[in-house]
C-alpha cells in the first residue's frame, strides 16, 4: 500500500496500480503504473506503461507507451510513447519532443 510521508504519497517497489490517477504530491519509488494518469508528481523509478503523463518530473524508471503530455524529462529509459500531438516517439527518443 502507498505510504503518506509529510503529506506526500509515496509509491514503492512491489506496488502495482492500474487505471489510477495521481496528483502533484506523489512520488514513485519503484511501483508499476499501468494505464494511469500522472499529474504533477515526481517519478523517481518504476515502470510507466500506457496512460497519460500530464505533468511532473520523470527522473528515472521506464516509460513504455502512453502519452507524455507535459512535464520534465530528467532521466530514465524511454521505450516508446506519444507526444501531446499524438505523434509516436520510438525507443530512446525521449522528451522534450520538438
Amino acid at each position: 500500500m502507498p505510504e503518506l510521508l509529510d503529506q506526500r504519497l509515496v509509491l514503492n517497489s512491489g506496488e502495482f496500480y492500474h487505471r489510477r490517477a495521481f496528483g502533484e504530491n506523489t512520488i514513485n519509488r519503484g511501483a508499476v503504473l499501468l494505464e494511469c494518469e500522472w499529474s504533477g508528481g515526481i517519478f523517481e523509478s518504476g515502470v510507466w506503461m500506457g496512460g497519460i503523463f500530464r505533468a511532473g518530473e520523470f527522473r528515472g524508471g521506464t516509460f513504455w507507451g502512453g502519452i507524455f503530455w507535459d512535464g520534465t524529462w530528467v532521466s530514465g529509459k524511454w521505450e516508446s510513447g506519444f507526444d501531446r500531438n499524438g505523434r509516436y516517439h520510438p525507443r530512446t527518443d525521449h522528451p522534450p519532443h520538438s
Binding site: 512491489g14 502495482f16 492500474h18 508499476v32 515502470v47 496512460g51 503530455w69 501531446r84 509516436y88
Partner: protein
C-alpha cells in the same frame, strides 16, 4: 521479376522460430513459384542474442539501430528496403496456406489497390498480416506506419490508432483502395493469436517487481492478457511437439514460466466466476483452438489442446 519483402518484428526467438518454420516452408516457395523474388527480414526488437542463426537460415536478421530504433520504426525501415510489395506479418500470425496468400497478389491488378489486409480487426484493415503495394505507401509523408493518438487531450477518450491505421486512412482519403479479407475467409488460411508477446514482455518487465499474485490478478482481470496467456499455452504445446524444447521458459527453465505456466493459468481460470466473462473468453479460446489445430494439421500431427478450461465453465 517483381520483388516481395516479408517483414516481421519479434521479441522472442522461440516464437520467431515457429513463425519462420511456416514462412520458409509455405510462404516463400509459393510466392517464388508465382514469380516473385522473396526476401525475409526478421527484426529482433529485444533479446537479439537468443536468436540462433541456424534456426533462421535464408532470412536476414536485424536488430535495433539508428534507422529502426524499435519495432514501430522497423515497419518504415522495411518499406524503404522493399521494392514492389511488402508483406508485414505479425510474430504470432501464421499463414497456413501459401497458395491462398499468393493468390491475393492478383488483387493488385487493380492499380488503385494499395493493400490487402489478410487478417482484419473488427472488419477493418489491420497490420497483423498485410500485403502492401510499396509505391502507394511511399507516397505518404513519413513516418508511414507508427501508431498515433487522435485527440490526445481527451484521454482516456482519445483514439489510439494502431500501427498502420493512419496510413490506411490517408490512402483511402487519396482515393486508393484497401481490401480487407473477411474474418471467416481469413481464419481458414491464417492462424492468428493475440497478445502473446505483450504477456511475455510484461512478465519480463515487471512481474518480478509486483509479484506473482498481482501479475496473475492482471491476467485474470483483463481479457487481452488472459487470451495472451492462453494463446501462449497453445503455441507452447505445438512448439514442444515440433522442437522438443520448452517454450517461453522462465530463468529456471519451467515451460511457459515466461508467460504463465499451465497450472497457474488453470488456477486463474478456475477463479473466474462471472458468466459473461467466461462466455467472452470461451469465444476467444475456441478461435485460438481452431487456429492452433489448423497449424497442427498442417504439420500432420495430432495435437491435444491443453486441459485448461475448468469443468464448471461448461455449466455456465
Amino acid at each position: 521479376m517483381q520483388r516481395l519483402l516479408i517483414a516481421s518484428p519479434h521479441c522472442y526467438a522461440d516464437l520467431a522460430r515457429l513463425w519462420y518454420r511456416f514462412v520458409r516452408r509455405d510462404l516463400v516457395p509459393s510466392f517464388a513459384d508465382a514469380g516473385y523474388q522473396v526476401t525475409v527480414v526478421i527484426y529482433r526488437d529485444v533479446n537479439a542474442q537468443q536468436f540462433r542463426e541456424k534456426d533462421f537460415q535464408g532470412a536476414t536478421l536485424c536488430a535495433p539501430g539508428p534507422r529502426a530504433r524499435d519495432f514501430m520504426e522497423f515497419y518504415d525501415f522495411a518499406l524503404v528496403e522493399a521494392h514492389d510489395f511488402l508483406l508485414i506479418l505479425d510474430a504470432d500470425a501464421f499463414i497456413v496456406d501459401g497458395a491462398w496468400a499468393t493468390s491475393q497478389l492478383l488483387r493488385f491488378e487493380d492499380p488503385s489497390v494499395s493493400a490487402v489486409s489478410l487478417v482484419p480487426r473488427k472488419n477493418s484493415p489491420a497490420i497483423y498480416a498485410i500485403l502492401c503495394r510499396c509505391e502507394h505507401f511511399r507516397e505518404l509523408t513519413p513516418p508511414v506506419f507508427p501508431g498515433h493518438y487522435q485527440s490526445p487531450e481527451s484521454w482516456p477518450n482519445s483514439i489510439n490508432l494502431q500501427p498502420g491505421d493512419l496510413a490506411f486512412q490517408r490512402l483511402l482519403a487519396a482515393g486508393k483502395k484497401i481490401i480487407t479479407i473477411d474474418v471467416q475467409e481469413s481464419e481458414r488460411h491464417v492462424a492468428n493469436f493475440h497478445g502473446t508477446t505483450v504477456v511475455r514482455l510484461c512478465r519480463d518487465l515487471f512481474a518480478d517487481q509486483i509479484g506473482d499474485s498481482q501479475f496473475e490478478d492482471l491476467i485474470q482481470r483483463e481479457r487481452y492478457y488472459t487470451v495472451g496467456a492462453y494463446d501462449n499455452a497453445l503455441l507452447g504445446a505445438l512448439y514442444e511437439r515440433l522442437f522438443d524444447e520448452a517454450y517461453a521458459p522462465d530463468c529456471s527453465g519451467t515451460p511457459l514460466g515466461g508467460s504463465l505456466s499451465l497450472p497457474r493459468l488453470r488456477s486463474i481460470l478456475t477463479r473466474i466466476s462471472k458468466p459473461e466473462q467466461r462466455s467472452t473468453l470461451r469465444r476467444w479460446f475456441e478461435s485460438s483452438d481452431r487456429a492452433i489445430l489448423s497449424m497442427a494439421a498442417h504439420e500432420s500431427i495430432d495435437l491435444a489442446i491443453p486441459d485448461l478450461i475448468p469443468q464448471d465453465w461448461n455449466a455456465s
